[in-house]
């Protein structure tokens, strides 16, 4: 989850400062665990008149980047990977960055200078505790909500618990926690139904639940079983009479769910896995749901009817959440794909308008569908508009959309594929086959 409840990860910047191309890297000699999320999705905010990006990642550090001066304003190191996007909220009028780390802790730092507001450990330490997965925080109804899945490897404890936490925004004090699943949970999303604040959370194993958080004790309002595994988070249209939640699942079901009753409004199939969050944009007073799939395509659906408006094929599996933004009045959608390109499409028609080569993965292989890599965010600033994207190439890219950018449209070569086929041919014929034929003994014992 990043940006707004609608999954919009774009902010408007009205200043005149010029934003130019920037490739930010930090400690590039670091070794990465294969398939790990090198960078999580960034969050953008205009702090004291300067556009800033906040991004964490495998290096366990949150980086606050000044996009105009192209410098790091502050960094904060944690004791675990930062796997999810931070969010920006306000405490006493000050912009504060809230983020979580795999060290079981939620952090709140003043966005301007990195001064610590508070930190809160959600799970007590244990020598047998396995990996802890904290979602992106949600600032909603003057509280902070976050989900946490922790498991204990000891045979005697054998705990597998995923909780939704409600924290005080000012101090980090835990108001309550609610056990929702025994598996991974998505990031929470907040919405109002009948004047009451609700939180929706999806379990990776497919159960979407809505929690009424208007009382001191949270109450489950409804649950909805998704047909398959869910890797992304729900998004919601809130400014209508009947709010609608949208959630995609493995094997390509995109389902619109009535947020008040938990009933399916419509369901559409895309050609392959949806392993990230959808995003909602408004074009000509019509709410559109954008979603990327492993069938190489980005889809646009009418949010009310589910009618497909367009689908555009990219060069690889679309692993990122799409980012809807406006560029000089034109609605655009950006999405990253596994061909290591970041694509920009006209949100009205789906027509491809630009693409950037964002570097090859830091590992020698990519595990499709098992890792949530970061997604792009957009800074809407007229001719200074830019995308910010933490790539699995270990770089954080700030890519101007109108001005010149060195990464635009790098061609892809198929030479490597043919070379690998040749290597297999030579290996098989010259080494494997002779050995197989000369080995003594019975056939396949």
């Amino acid at each position: 989850m990043r940006g707004t409840a609608e999954g919009r990860a774009a902010i408007v910047y009205t200043g005149n400062a010029e934003i130019t191309e920037w490739h930010y890297v930090y400690k590039s000699s670091r070794r990465f665990e294969t398939g790990s999320a090198v960078w999580a999705s960034p969050a953008l905010a205009v702090i004291a008149g300067r556009p800033m990006a906040f991004i964490g990642g495998y290096d366990q550090t949150l980086h606050a980047l000044n996009l105009v001066e192209k410098k790091v304003v502050w960094r904060k190191i944690t004791n675990g990977e930062i796997q999810t996007a931070p969010v920006i909220g306000k405490i006493d009028g000050l912009d504060v960055v809230f983020f979580s780390s795999a060290d079981r802790t939620v952090y709140a730092y003043v966005a301007y200078n990195g001064r610590q507001s508070w930190t809160k450990e959600l799970v007590p330490p244990s020598p047998t505790l396995g990996d802890v997965h904290l979602s992106s925080p949600l600032v909603f109804n003057n509280k902070l909500y976050i989900t946490c899945f922790a498991y204990d490897k000891s045979l005697s404890a054998n705990k597998q618990e995923a909780h939704l936490f409600c924290l005080d925004l000012q101090t980090g004090k835990i108001y309550w926690k609610l056990l929702l699943s025994t598996g991974f949970l998505s990031s929470p999303v907040g919405f109002i139904v009948s004047g009451r604040p609700h939180i929706a959370v999806a379990a990776r194993r497919g159960l979407l639940q809505a929690i009424d958080v208007s009382h001191k004790i949270p109450r489950r309002r409804w649950s909805f079983q998704m047909p398959h595994e869910v890797l992304g988070s729900p998004v919601i249209i809130t400014d209508t009479d009947s709010p609608l939640l949208f959630l995609g699942s493995k094997y390509g079901n995109l389902i619109a769910i009535d947020a008040a009753r938990g009933k399916e409004r419509w369901q559409r199939m895309v050609g392959n896995w949806i392993d990230n969050t959808a995003c909602i944009g408004e074009i000509d007073n019509r709410k559109i749901v954008f979603v990327g799939s492993h069938d190489y395509r980005v889809y646009a659906f009418d949010s009310q009817t589910g009618d497909i408006l367009w689908k555009t094929a990219l060069g690889g599996e679309v692993f990122s959440a799409p980012c809807f933004f406006s560029l000089n009045g034109q609605p655009m959608v950006a999405a990253a794909a596994l061909d290591s390109h970041l694509y920009i499409m006209d949100a009205r028609t789906g027509e491809m308008v630009n693409r950037f080569f964002t570097g090859n993965p830091v590992w020698d292989k990519v595990a499709k569908g098992e890792t949530l890599w970061g997604s792009p965010v957009a800074l809407e600033a007229g001719n200074n508009s830019a995308l910010v994207f933490g790539s699995y190439s270990d770089m954080v890219y700030v890519l101007p959309l109108v001005k010149e950018c060195s990464l635009t449209s790098m061609a892809r070569s198929s030479g490597t594929l043919w070379f690998s086929l040749l290597v297999v041919l030579i290996l098989f014929v010259s080494i494997i086959l002779p050995i197989i034929l000369r080995l003594p003994g019975k056939s396949d014992d």
Partner: protein, 386 residues
């Protein structure tokens, strides 16, 4: 627009091919009849129907009457395809089952339900294979069934070749060259339109398969047994891949997972085309899962016994076995798929199906079924089955 648009220069052939790819994408994207688990476990996407269906399909070989058993077997295979490709979402791919088993083991203690989900399918197949023999391969496996159904079209011709001890023939070589051409052309198309990842490594299995076909066109009779060792190598590669976290999709994977997976689809087409020339070629030479099931089959309770007094050495059993697992009445347990073709076609009813609980539990399997392939003399051809 503020920046230049990326224009695509399409020609007619290109548009036709793109249209076909889009059609395939839509077709496989909607291949499942149901979109939600029919017997889903509450609070998860775990599909209980998978285990029930697999268990049912595995015991059917025991339940069906001897009369028309081969017809029942084909119905079972078709039912397996319908269930696993069109209804449930569980991977029954020959690579996926090994990979999923490791993934399931890794989930124990973290998400036990998911661990159960991923381990249950290979565990069910292994247990039923230990009990009822390797009937999974002969009665259920969709990859095997597709090869068998493809092989039916050329059965008369391939059995004649088998009878003649697989001599070199120009039509076979031309067919193999045709398959190689299809592979290269398809690969060219994919290489300029798709990006390939380690998951798409089934193309290397396809490549090895067509190299094998080329070799088999000249040396099938001489090298058949030795080339079957490639299954061990295939198994080791997949297991190592599973241990280090590589996810490699297998033939027919696109059907199990409801995805348009071009590499898996290409591999499937190659396996089916190859099965037209050499029956069950994938099972014989490259299937890693066959290595596991073969091991279980060797230790299974249920086996086929030959009454040598009744055997007239007519060669019928040898002729009808697509796996070349029967030679003059002796059954190679490494290769047998428990399809019971030999049992059903034997004119003197010399074969019987027996359950050897005591023997299997107390000592090593009888030597009757040990591999004979290496020492098979190039002597007179088996008698043809008409």
């Amino acid at each position: 627009m503020p920046f230049p648009r990326v224009k695509s220069k399409g020609i007619t052939v290109d548009k036709i091919l793109k249209g076909i790819e889009n059609w395939l994408s839509d077709l496989f994207g909607n291949i499942k009849i149901v979109e939600k688990a029919l017997l889903g476990m509450e609070g998860s996407y775990v599909e209980l129907l998978t285990i029930l269906a697999l268990g049912l399909l595995a015991v059917i070989p025991i339940l069906v009457p001897q009369k028309h058993r081969q017809r029942w077997r084909h119905i079972n295979q078709v039912f397996g395809i319908i269930i696993f490709i069109f209804v449930v979402f569980t991977c029954l791919g020959v690579f996926g089952m090994i990979r999923n088993f490791f993934r399931g083991l890794n989930e124990i203690g973290r998400e036990n339900i998911i661990a159960l989900y991923y381990c249950s399918v290979p565990a069910t197949i292994l247990v039923t294979s230990l009990l009822f023999g390797p009937a999974f391969c002969g009665w259920i496996c969709p990859t095997g069934a597709l090869q068998e159904f493809a092989g039916m079209f050329t059965r008369k011709w391939t059995r004649q070749r088998k009878k003649d001890q697989y001599p070199f023939s120009w039509p076979v070589l031309l067919a193999v060259l045709g398959i190689i051409f299809v592979f290269l052309l398809w690969m060219y198309r994919l290489s300029v339109t798709r990006t390939f990842f380690i998951e798409d490594s089934s193309i290397y299995w396809s490549e090895v398969l067509i190299i094998l076909l080329f070799i088999l066109a000249f040396r099938l009779h001489q090298w058949d047994g030795k080339l079957r060792r490639l299954r061990t190598l295939s198994f080791i590669i997949i297991v190592l891949g599973a241990i280090i976290g590589l996810r490699i999709t297998s033939p027919v994977h696109f059907g199990f997972a409801k995805v348009y997976d071009p590499a898996s689809f290409l591999s499937t087409v190659m396996v089916v085309l190859a099965a037209l020339v050499v029956p069950r070629v994938w099972c014989k030479y490259l299937c890693p899962w066959r290595k596991v099931v073969g091991w279980a089959g060797k230790h299974s309770v249920r086996r086929i016994k030959l009454d040598e007094k009744k055997c007239t050495q007519c060669g019928t059993c040898t002729a009808v076995c697509d796996l070349d697992a029967v030679q003059e009445g002796k059954i190679d347990l490494n290769e047998c798929h428990m399809c019971f073709s030999c049992v059903d076609h034997c004119p003197t009813k010399a074969f019987t199906i027996v359950d050897e609980w005591k023997k299997t539990c107390l000592r090593r399997p009888v030597s009757q079924g040990d591999s004979f392939r290496e020492n098979r003399p190039p002597g007179p051809p088996a008698k043809a089955f008409d």
